[in-house]
Symmetry: C3
């Protein structure tokens, strides 16, 4: 089976932010995402509700370019204001071209 290396972006944040954040992720070019309910206890204490509170884990498959673009967006627009943890994992998929999304012309 021929596979392609792409990126999995995982973001953990407060559940109250899930809708806004997934909207921002789609607006930034992602074609899909998965949201899982979670509880968390984090190292960043900007929001008291982030300590043991209701979180979500958002996962997005993306090409390397799109993943970098999404991470830039998170670091610029979200990290300064919200309790957010994000990481990239290299994964293999069967049809990598599906996850190219539609990158803005001038990201």
């Amino acid at each position: 089976m021929q596979t392609t290396s792409i990126k999995l972006l995982t973001v953990v944040t407060e559940s109250v932010l899930a809708e806004r954040l997934t909207r921002a992720i789609k607006a930034a070019g992602a074609t899909g995402y998965t949201v899982t309910p979670a509880k968390g206890c984090g190292s960043r204490n900007q929001r008291s509700s982030s300590i043991g509170g209701d979180n979500v884990q958002i996962e997005v498959l993306a090409t390397e370019d799109l993943a970098a673009h999404l991470l830039d967006m998170l670091v610029r627009d979200w990290f300064p204001h919200y309790a957010l943890v994000a990481w990239l994992t290299t994964v293999e998929v069967v049809r990598g071209e599906k996850y190219a999304g539609s990158l803005p012309a001038h990201p």
Copy 2:
């Protein structure tokens, strides 16, 4: 601590398919799996319920051979008919031999 590289197969699909799919995964040789409830919004629109609907995320630890066998099964029997996203991640475990499963003699 001595670790071994094996594969983590992750499948996201509609929750109504969870039972049939995990049965197929076990029949294909996997020794265990984890199922997590999720919400999703995907790039494949074969099923209307895949847009914002109830999904599950199924994770299976498997040796490289078993993971390839499981991926082949998904691509052959599931991808043509269902809204399904799957990816492989290389992970490290303490005792890799546990995850060899029981590959059919003639896969």
Copy 3:
């Protein structure tokens, strides 16, 4: 965007153990974790409730040293007694120094 490679430790176990295990993970130096509810069916049958029972998936971002320390702790104190599956994934984060935790002086 400058990223750093660190480890993601994932542990799947029975939900009744979640609180004790996350306490042990924090005591071992981790600065945060995410807990996701899951159902599982595993290859280890020490506990009958591990077959199709209520599980949790615990995820911890950690530097390589802290991850090795956490894995040692699991293998020494938890694997002999409980139904537990654990794996390490290499992931990239924006600020790796956040996940160094506070390793005990004599681990």
